[in-house]
């Protein structure tokens, strides 16, 4: 457990609020429970209330791998974390400040994950203290003792008992009671909260809403009576929010919105965690904009169906995760070889094999780039924020059509399940795919009329008279004739590769976060953006000469990297995928296996780029990265030095 992440406001920012109410810059709240106790609903509602009040918010669900894991088990911990702040929030933060727990056992897994610190306040359901089963009573007493010995501030509270005064089955309603408690503790706007509850239960009848309002009121009163702590988290500065409209979604919903905003009309998918919720959301609303979700019989059929649609002129999207990407490999190669536009979103999870289905990893980068036998150049981009999940789908569809290529869009479980407010997009007609061209095609123009410099070519679409050609995954000439001669294959490979160079020539060098030169540059990609920049900001506030850079394009690589890297004493990637620790047994500078972006950058720049990466299955937190920065800045130059040791959890 490390230092607190809270940032109290400076004295001049503090105004004449009642002495009982403490103004704070941010807090992290968790609700942890067994599955099915409504913690996530309460937390999402709380997060939305905070967002409506103008706070920066990031919520992330705590998801057990099983649907109904055994009750009161550490592995069954289900719940939600809400980070609310007076500034824009870009990640889940470090340790929690306030935790509501429906039983004591579920806290163990959170403690093991380093989610709490000394001083974290735990509001614990106390009914287990007097449980009829002696073992449960003993477990409870032991846990509370251990928690307190480790510095947690535990308040044992009769939450269910209080709910019993309102309803007979508190298991089904105590989440709204807890929402009331939290709204008191964090001085939330009561009317906004009640409106949000009404929205949450809008599909239920008025009685249900009234009952939940009563539970909420009771929770408010209960907290006022039993708890001293009362905070105010002021909204973000007005200039950040004025005249802006925000939407609140998770990253998978953002992907789905991107699909609709891009004008794509078909998503073809096969269920796979953690990607599927994107299709759940789409299945709910896609028909409204004239789209269709096809649930295929398997991953291969899912991408095949999408490729079929793309070939016929309606560029389609398929959404999957690592194991699905592996199954789709041969189809991706076909789309590369035959130059078929396609958007393939990969919501990464822990691998290899079935791996960690519900947990985050950035382990599919090399598979996305190099998964196919033979040379299969394609565009690979990675969203760094939930908002980018939306906008990058739109970009992906455009790139796919302009460059006649599959585009792989990498996101991950962290983005998929994180929820935050961000600027409402303002779609314009040019975001949408144009109608299918059905004009006549001059038969003397080959179906692959490659520009020799860029490899680009227009494509005939079925229905265009005179454009009839036979698309094939075999090596082919510009007329798409099967060709076994050596020249045709070389030319085809040249043309497909040249498209990436052409795209690279349109990209700008990435922006450095922090100074343009210094002692250490962190390089990241994907969902770690917020945590890395927050860590860099902390280190810079301490006077360290550290900066960071975040890549969105991985294939082709963004330009100018070698030049930027040369301005820093050390360059290292920060990633959520496997790398050998430099001090692991037998590891030498020669045998060390690097993190995936580090491999790419080493090859790309011929510079000695270091890496720090872990695969604990949880998002990187600013505190962890901050520690890495401090250790790396003070470490001896030798990468293989045995004194250098960084654990994954702080």
């Amino acid at each position: 457990m490390s230092t607190a992440a809270t940032k109290p406001l400076s004295p001049q920012e503090q105004t004449d609020t009642p002495s009982a109410v403490q103004r704070i810059g941010e807090h992290i709240v968790e609700i942890v429970s067994d599955s099915g106790e409504g913690a996530q609903k309460a937390g999402q509602t709380f997060g939305t209330i905070c967002a409506r009040m103008g706070n920066g918010v990031w919520t992330v669900e705590i998801i057990p791998a099983e649907i109904q894991p055994p009750a009161r088990s550490p592995a069954g911990a289900s719940g939600i974390r809400i980070r609310l702040a007076s500034h824009n929030v870009t990640n889940m933060g470090d340790e929690a400040d306030t935790v509501v727990a429906f039983n004591e056992q579920v806290l163990y897994s959170r403690i093991a994950n380093g989610a709490y610190k000394r001083g974290t306040v735990v509001l614990l359901e106390d009914k287990w203290r007097d449980d009829p089963v002696p073992e449960i009573r003993a477990q409870y007493a032991k846990a509370v003792r251990e928690f307190r010995e480790n510095g947690l501030i535990v308040h044992e509270l009769p939450i269910e008992q209080a709910c019993l005064e309102i309803m007979s089955n508190p298991r089904r309603g105590k989440n709204m009671f807890v929402l009331g408690m939290l709204c008191h503790i964090y001085s939330r706007d009561i009317q906004k909260a009640k409106d949000e509850i009404a929205t949450t239960f809008k599909r239920k009848d008025a009685e249900v809403i009234a009952l939940n309002h009563r539970l909420f009121d009771a929770g408010l009163a209960f907290a006022a009576e039993h708890l001293d702590a009362c905070y105010e988290v002021p909204p973000r500065p007005e200039e950040e929010t004025r005249d802006k409209r925000f939407i609140v979604t998770n990253g998978n919903q953002a992907l789905a919105l991107g699909v609709m905003a891009s004008g794509m009309e078909l998503v073809s998918m096969y269920p796979i965690t953690p990607a599927t919720s994107a299709s759940h959301y789409l299945a709910d609303v896609f028909h409204e904009v004239g789209g269709f979700v096809h649930q295929a019989e398997d991953e291969i059929a899912a991408i095949g169906f999408a490729i079929g649609s793309s070939f016929a002129g309606k560029t389609a999207c398929t959404i999957t995760s690592g194991p699905g990407l592996a199954l789709k490999t041969e189809m991706v190669a076909l789309a590369v070889m035959a130059e078929i536009p396609l958007v393939l979103a990969v919501v990464q999870r822990g691998g290899p094999s079935t791996g960690l289905p519900t947990k985050v990893e950035q382990g599919d980068l090399l598979a996305a780039l190099y998964g196919e036998p033979g040379d299969a150049p394609k565009v690979v981009i990675a969203a760094a924020t939930i908002q980018e999940c939306l906008h990058f789908v739109i970009m992906a569809r455009r790139l796919a059509e302009a460059f006649r290529t599959p585009v792989i869009l990498l996101t991950d479980a962290n983005l998929a399940t994180g929820v935050q407010p961000y600027a409402r997009p303002k779609p314009t007609p040019d975001w949408l795919a144009p109608p299918i061209d059905q004009s006549e095609w001059d038969p003397s123009v080959p179906p692959y009329d490659w520009d020799p410099e860029t490899g680009l070519s227009p494509r005939p679409i079925p229905g265009m008279s005179g454009g009839q050609y036979i698309l094939t995954g075999l090596a082919h000439t510009n007329f798409s004739k099967v060709a076994y001669d050596s020249d045709s294959n070389q030319v085809g490979c040249n043309m497909r590769s040249r498209k990436l160079t052409a795209l690279a020539s349109t990209l700008k060098p990435p922006q450095v976060h922090g100074d343009e030169e210094g002692d250490l540059l962190l390089v990241g990609w994907g969902s770690t953006l917020g945590a890395i920049e927050e860590a860099v900001d902390r280190a810079r506030a301490q006077g360290h000469r550290v900066s960071s850079l975040h890549l969105r394009f991985l294939s082709p690589m963004e330009p100018g990297l070698g030049e930027i890297f040369a301005r820093f004493g050390k360059v290292m990637t920060i990633e959520i995928n496997y790398s050998d620790a430099p001090d692991a047994p037998l590891i030498t500078a020669e045998t060390r296996r690097y993190a995936q972006l580090a491999w790419l950058l080493r090859a790309h720049t011929l510079l000695d780029i270091d890496c720090w990466s872990v695969v604990y299955g949880h998002p990187l937190q600013p505190g962890m990265i901050h520690n890495v920065i401090l250790k790396r800045l003070t470490a001896p130059q030798d990468v293989g030095d045995k004194t250098e040791k960084e654990g994954g959890t702080d």
Partner: protein, 317 residues
């Protein structure tokens, strides 16, 4: 005359397509291969139905038969081994205006593509599905296929195939929502033509298993069949495939079979003593997946944007 300008009249008259309009590259199947006859029959159907070549797509997997798109003058998609059907279904999904043919083989469809064979028939999208079944892997040079007879010697089973062959008809008839199941041989061109035409005209997936000769690697299989008419049973019915005298001569054993009778179709298909030719099952009213998957294709960009705005409203705080 008639006050019409010459260039107007060109547009007034519909284009007329000849066999040449459906011809692509020169077929490079082996001499004597049954595939040549299937290609000719398909081209004749396209010509007789005056199907616009630019609105037709022939989709295939990998194998000898999957070369067919290259020999047609339509659009073509020579895909991956076993995966013709997902590609074809995807083409149809948002472009129901396109006429889709699928050329696949016994290895392509009944082995590596098994999952798609079953599910595509369940989707029942409007397309003509030709399975060229020669009981052998030809392109990869003589490996056992799912329909190779027991004991048939191949490069992978030099002492003879060791597992009883799959019966594609009973499997196909067992698939929910199957709507058209026919079987025919390549060596009776009139019946082949009539069967493909019926499959083409059927709204839904017209499944046609074509028992087809491979003179190079499985000659003994087709020779044995061609030499023994008693192995076949010709199915006749007013709702069935039109049968001409040549078919009646070639397949002397005949029976009436109502293609609406699924239970009887199943009994005929399951009988190991006789190979049925003709239409086993036909349900013209089975739902087609593209009726669902193509919804919204006509929506304008303006409508999409307006409705998307409504979706955003629900997420706005």
């Amino acid at each position: 005359m008639f006050g019409l300008k010459a260039d107007w009249s060109l547009e007034v008259f519909e284009r007329y397509f000849t066999i040449g309009d459906y011809a692509g590259g020169e077929a490079r199947w082996c001499p004597g291969c049954g595939d040549h006859g299937v290609l000719t029959a398909a081209q004749r159907v396209l010509r007789d139905e005056q199907q616009k070549p630019e609105l037709s797509v022939c989709v295939s997997g990998i194998g000898c038969s999957s070369r067919m798109p290259h020999y047609l003058g339509t659009y073509g998609f020579h895909g991956l081994h076993g995966r013709a059907l997902p590609l074809a279904c995807g083409i149809k999904s948002r472009r129901p205006d396109l006429d889709v043919w699928v050329a696949t083989g016994d290895g392509d469809c009944f082995s590596i593509g098994t999952a798609h064979w079953i599910h595509a028939l369940r989707y029942n999208m409007n397309m003509t599905l030709m399975v060229f079944d020669n009981a052998i892997y030809g392109l990869t040079k003589a490996q056992t296929s799912p329909t190779s007879p027991l004991g048939f010697k191949t490069n992978t089973h030099p002492f003879g195939a060791i597992v009883d062959p799959l019966n594609p008809l009973t499997v196909t008839l067992g698939i929910t929502n199957v709507s058209f199941v026919a079987q025919v041989t390549d060596w009776n061109p009139p019946l082949l033509y009539e069967t493909l035409k019926a499959a083409y005209r059927h709204r839904g997936t017209g499944f046609v298993r074509i028992i087809q000769r491979c003179p190079v690697y499985a000659e003994e299989v087709s020779k044995a069949l061609q030499g023994d008419p008693s192995r076949f049973l010709l199915l006749e019915h007013t709702q069935g495939i039109p049968v001409d005298p040549s078919a009646q001569r070639q397949f002397p054993q005949r029976r009436e079979h109502d293609p609406g009778d699924l239970a009887q179709a199943f009994r005929i298909a399951a009988d190991p003593s006789l190979i049925p030719v003709g239409l086993l099952y036909h349900n013209p009213n089975a739902p087609c997946y593209e009726d669902l998957s193509s919804q919204g294709t006509k929506m304008t960009s303006q409508e999409r944007l307006e409705r998307f705005d409504g979706i955003l409203d629900r997420l706005t705080i």
